[in-house]
């Protein structure tokens, strides 16, 4: 030993058991910060990838400029890539067709396909001249086309344009769902096909300039500079809101609210980490003070004692921070791997072993700073200990007792337990805060789940993989098609609906326009979960009855009669139920749902408007193409699988991320409580030994420890619930009420769950140290270090 500070590792070896708990606490806090920040980073990365795949990897679109201006803008040094992009027949209502199907025509520069879209080219190349075209992959699969084949696109004016296929690109969910084909051609080829006169203005060709900036840090500044220098108005520049939002660069008010909420959540996580470390260090302060008091006896100056304490804390960090960070990284890796397994289509590109630098830095910085700050106070306390007090050898006397415990209200062991909890104000506040922060974190993150459920609608039981839709939404699909589909082995379920739109009715002397829709058995079964009032059975079995779908605008109630007249006979329909939701809520009319029999009676129609198909899990693209061919061209074959898959992927990702957060918060709560109680018991081991010697039974000792733990828990629960509910309300207002107008309610379920977790943790927390004390003989107990 050459220097007095070398005492630190020696003492660490002796006090390994006490130090282990503090180290464990630092590991937990660093792990919490690293894992949560890492998960957030990975989530944002995957969402950025998703946004780039879905909406393109460009930041803004500029319209109403000329080709010359577009060229000038694309040559600016702050722009990484820029390309013109225009579209024809986007909504399928302009009459451009290919082999009788809708053709969506995109005219763009090569950079759009190669730099601004992610992995869009599946095979071949971007057209090199005006006679070449790229086509979506569904054409290859369904029509058997190959590169080099010639295709003809018909315009509404009757002209036919012939192109050679230069390549295939990935389908997007829009072309699949609308049963159309996408064509990608050069800008000049596109302009030749465009019906209006030639000019050099992009706006004349329904085109914009898509721009990707090179510097991602200050995109808003770059946009402002660009607007100023190129004299662009606000209306000319539109943001790719989703991508900019994920990059943290959006000025969209919705995104700003989301950023603010995220900042609050991250501050809470940081605060939780800080409180946990501070509480743990403060808890074993008594043992440390005794030890350092002895050092003072031997002749150390207060300054030297402070140095020793800080060195000791830093020594813990040397082990605890790398372990915490490593654990965080591994958890993030595991989650990334789970994401890849859950939705390989969308998260396949996430590297399983990627590092999140911000989370690692946050873990290290928060761990180190907190430990140093938290160690400062015990160090000061230790430095203040007079050598005389330390020399008396009675560590318990080092803790100043100002007021005797009140033994009149509770039994003596309970009174002492409560007194142990509240005797040191600072320790009490830290413990209560560390317990309550778990509730605050849990409730705050619960808001994020409600937010996810609003932004991403999970797939409903009635969600179809494929829909067969009659032209112009008439009742024209024969029942025999449904029967054929039901017999097909790749079809899991098929169900038809008849629609009658815009039916004028009178209800309670009010004129109401309703859309009348028929349900069959399956749809009635699914509707059971959404029944607000009335009976589905009545609607199913009794003719001339129906259900209304709730909407704030209509005030039709159960028992009301709807009078309608389609054709000659007026018909009365009795309302027997109200549903909260149905698969079709886009219409502004009210929705009346009835059985097929009632529908036939009202309208005289008995053919379906739409048949929905849910496919077997093992159905392949070839099977779907065969199905498409079986249905033929008379009906629209709407393939929703891709869109569903995307929704499912994002929903899983969100759920995994948010529930992952909640599980981590719950685990941290359990570990923190167990650790805090263990530390508190460890600090009093000697005293408990003395108690046992005087005659305190282990049962009474258990009650004493339970009373102490319960005091922290009850106070922590009360304060945590008040603060948690306040944060829940604040975040709910910012994230949900602001956007969707939902009213806030006290989150009783979430509150119940976290309180149950806390009570469960307390039981485990008390059980272990009591078991340890029970095993010790009283003499071991008294002389315990």
């Amino acid at each position: 030993m050459k220097h007095y500070l070398e005492l630190v590792p020696i003492s660490a070896r002796v006090h390994r058991k006490q130090n282990r708990m503090s180290i464990f606490c630092i590991i937990l806090a660093v792990f919490l910060v690293t894992a949560i920040f890492g998960m957030a980073d990975m989530f944002i990365r995957s969402q950025i990838m998703q946004a780039q795949i879905d909406g393109g990897n460009f930041h803004i679109g500029i319209k109403d400029i000329t080709d010359e201006e577009a060229t000038l803008i694309s040559k600016r040094p702050d722009i990484q890539a820029a390309a013109r992009y225009g579209v024809l027949n986007f909504r399928g209502n302009e009459g451009y067709t290919f082999e009788g199907w809708n053709a969506v025509i995109v005219g763009c520069d090569e950079e759009y396909m190669t730099k601004l879209m992610v992995d869009i080219i599946e095979e071949g190349n971007f057209p090199q001249n005006n006679l070449q075209v790229m086509i979506t992959l569904n054409a290859k699969e369904y029509l058997g086309l190959q590169i080099g084949d010639t295709v003809a696109i018909n315009t509404p004016g009757g002209t036919e344009f012939h192109y050679e296929i230069s390549g295939f690109c990935n389908d997007n969910s829009k072309t699949m769902s609308e049963d159309s084909y996408g064509f990608f051609m050069t800008t000049s080829a596109f302009r030749k096909m465009y019906p209006t006169e030639k000019s050099d203005k992009l706006a004349d060709y329904n085109s914009i300039l898509c721009v990707q900036f090179s510097d991602l840090k200050n995109i808003q500044n770059t946009i402002n500079n660009l607007k100023e220098e190129c004299h662009l108005s606000d209306g000319q520049v539109s943001e790719n809101t989703k991508l900019l939002g994920l990059l943290g660069q959006s000025t969209n008010s919705f995104m700003v609210q989301v950023y603010m909420s995220a900042i609050i959540l991250f501050l809470l996580v940081m605060f939780a980490g800080i409180i946990m470390i501070a509480s743990s260090l403060n808890s074993n302060v008594m043992q440390r003070i005794e030890f350092f008091g002895l050092i003072r006896c031997i002749g150390a100056t207060p300054k030297q004692v402070m140095k020793l304490v800080s060195k000791e804390a830093l020594n813990w960090c040397r082990f605890a921070i790398p372990v915490g960070v490593a654990m965080g990284i591994v958890v993030v890796w595991v989650l990334c791997a789970v994401l890849r397994v859950l939705s390989p289509e969308y998260f396949g590109a996430i590297p399983t072993f990627s590092f999140s630098l911000p989370s690692i830095v946050a873990g290290i910085v928060i761990g180190l700073l907190t430990v140093l700050l938290a160690a400062h106070s015990p160090a000061k306390k230790a430095a203040k200990v007079s050598p005389l007090t330390a020399a008396s050898g009675n560590a318990l006397n080092l803790r100043p007792v100002r007021k005797a415990a009140n033994t009149k209200i509770f039994k003596v062991e309970i009174s002492l337990g409560i007194y142990h909890a509240i005797s040191s104000k600072k320790n009490f506040v830290l413990m209560v805060l560390s317990f309550s922060i778990s509730i605050v974190l849990f409730l705050s993150f619960a808001v994020a789940i409600a937010f996810a459920n609003h932004t991403i609608t999970p797939l409903r039981p009635w969600t179809a993989d494929i829909s067969i839709i009659s032209p112009q939404n008439t009742c024209s699909i024969d029942n025999s098609i449904l029967e054929k589909l039901e017999k097909n082995p790749i079809v899991n379920a098929a169900y038809g609906r008849m629609f009658s739109y815009d039916v004028s009715t009178t209800v309670n002397d009010d004129r109401v326009t309703l859309d009348i829709i028929s349900y069959e058995q399956k749809q009635f079964d699914w509707a059971k979960n959404y029944l607000l009032q009335g009976s589905i059975k009545v609607v199913q079995n009794e003719v001339n009855t129906g259900m209304i779908v709730y909407s704030p605008e209509n005030n039709i109630e159960v028992g009301d009669t709807v009078n309608c007249r389609i054709g000659e006979k007026p018909i009365e329909i009795k309302i027997a139920g109200i549903l909260s939701d149905c698969p079709f809520n886009t219409t502004s009319n009210g929705i009346l749902i009835c059985s097929e029999n009632t529908f036939q009676k009202i309208t005289g129609q008995n053919k379906y408007t739409i048949i929905d198909i849910q496919l077997d899990k093992n159905a392949t693209d070839t099977d779907v193409n065969a199905l498409h061919q079986m249905i033929g061209n008379d009906f629209t074959f709407s393939d929703e699988r891709m869109g569903n898959e995307s929704t499912r992927g994002i929903y899983y990702c969100m759920c995994l991320f948010l529930y992952g957060f909640l599980v981590i918060v719950a685990l941290i709560t359990i570990f923190n409580i167990i650790n805090s109680i263990a530390l508190s018991v460890a600090a009093r081991t000697k005293q408990y030994g003395a108690f046992r010697a005087i005659g305190v039974s282990t049962k009474q000792l258990t009650k004493m420890i339970i009373a102490e733990a319960a005091t922290y828990t009850i106070m922590g629960t009360v304060i945590g619930s008040i603060l948690g509910v306040a944060f829940h309300k604040l975040l709910f207002g910012m994230m949900i009420t602001y956007n969707w107008g939902d009213t806030w309610k006290i989150p009783l379920n979430e509150l119940g769950i976290i309180i149950a977790i806390m009570v469960f943790s307390i039981i485990i927390a008390v059980y272990r140290p009591v078991k340890r004390l029970r095993k010790m003989s009283i003499t071991e107990n008294i002389s315990a270090q």
Binding site: V401, A404, Y419, I694, S697
Partner: protein, 231 residues
């Protein structure tokens, strides 16, 4: 009437080369009202003997009977309650509960037994200890001698069959040490209290009835007042 009976008591710590035989076949007994002292060098085994008699530690073999009851045939919980009611402890470092005041510390064993303290008895003990004026004070507000007097009061309150005192004067000056010894002697005479103390201060054995010496784990009964024999 035999209050304490120790039979062939052995206590061994460690195993193999590290094995230490702290007590070797110790046997003796104490009658009611007897005031006995155990003397011996540091590390001779006297504290181990006291800890085993007080059921703070378990012997490797042998038996201890208090008022005819075998201490180690009882289960842990029952033994604790038995100890609480029948054995009073006085420690060298007092072991008072810092969170409780003097009166609360004295009645603590009664409270643990969920019994209501008799105010008369409490006042009597406080009087005897000379602490009536300080009954509301906390241990930290008392001197070492006063704290040890509180510990004696706590040991006396349950009127145990046996009081065990481990170096009760070890942390006190000679004046306070003599005061404590006088108080224990008074208790022994006044309440017919059986007391066994450990001390290495041979001068303090002047007032005891019997003296035992422990050397290398072996107990020797030195008979009457130690001073005569030892000197």
């Amino acid at each position: 009437m035999e209050i304490l009976k120790v039979e062939n008591l052995c206590k061994t710590y460690g195993k193999g080369e590290a094995e230490v035989k702290a007590l070797k076949n110790v046997s003796f007994s104490l009658e009611k009202g007897e005031f006995a002292a155990v003397v011996g060098e540091s590390g001779s085994g006297k504290s181990t003997l006291l800890n085993c008699i007080g059921a703070l530690d378990t012997p490797t073999s042998g038996s201890i009977f208090i008022d005819g009851q075998n201490l180690f045939s009882m289960k842990e919980e029952k033994r604790t309650i038995f100890r609480r009611r029948n054995i009073g402890f006085i420690f060298q470092s007092f072991q008072l509960v810092p969170e409780l005041n003097i009166e609360q510390n004295i009645v603590f064993p009664l409270l643990l037994d969920y019994r209501k303290p008799d105010p008369k008895k409490v006042n009597e003990i406080l009087n005897m200890l000379g602490l009536t004026e300080r009954r509301e004070h906390l241990p930290s507000q008392l001197s070492g001698g006063q704290q040890q007097r509180v510990a004696i009061g706590r040991a006396l309150i349950t009127q145990p069959k046996l009081i065990l005192a481990d170096e009760p004067t070890g942390n006190l000056d000679s004046k306070n040490s003599q005061d404590v010894m006088d108080m224990l002697t008074t208790a022994s005479r006044h309440y017919q209290q059986t007391i066994l103390i450990i001390t290495h201060n041979k001068n303090l054995t002047a007032s005891v009835d019997r003296v035992f010496q422990v050397s290398d784990g072996v107990l020797t009964d030195l008979g009457g007042v130690a001073n005569e024999t030892l000197s």
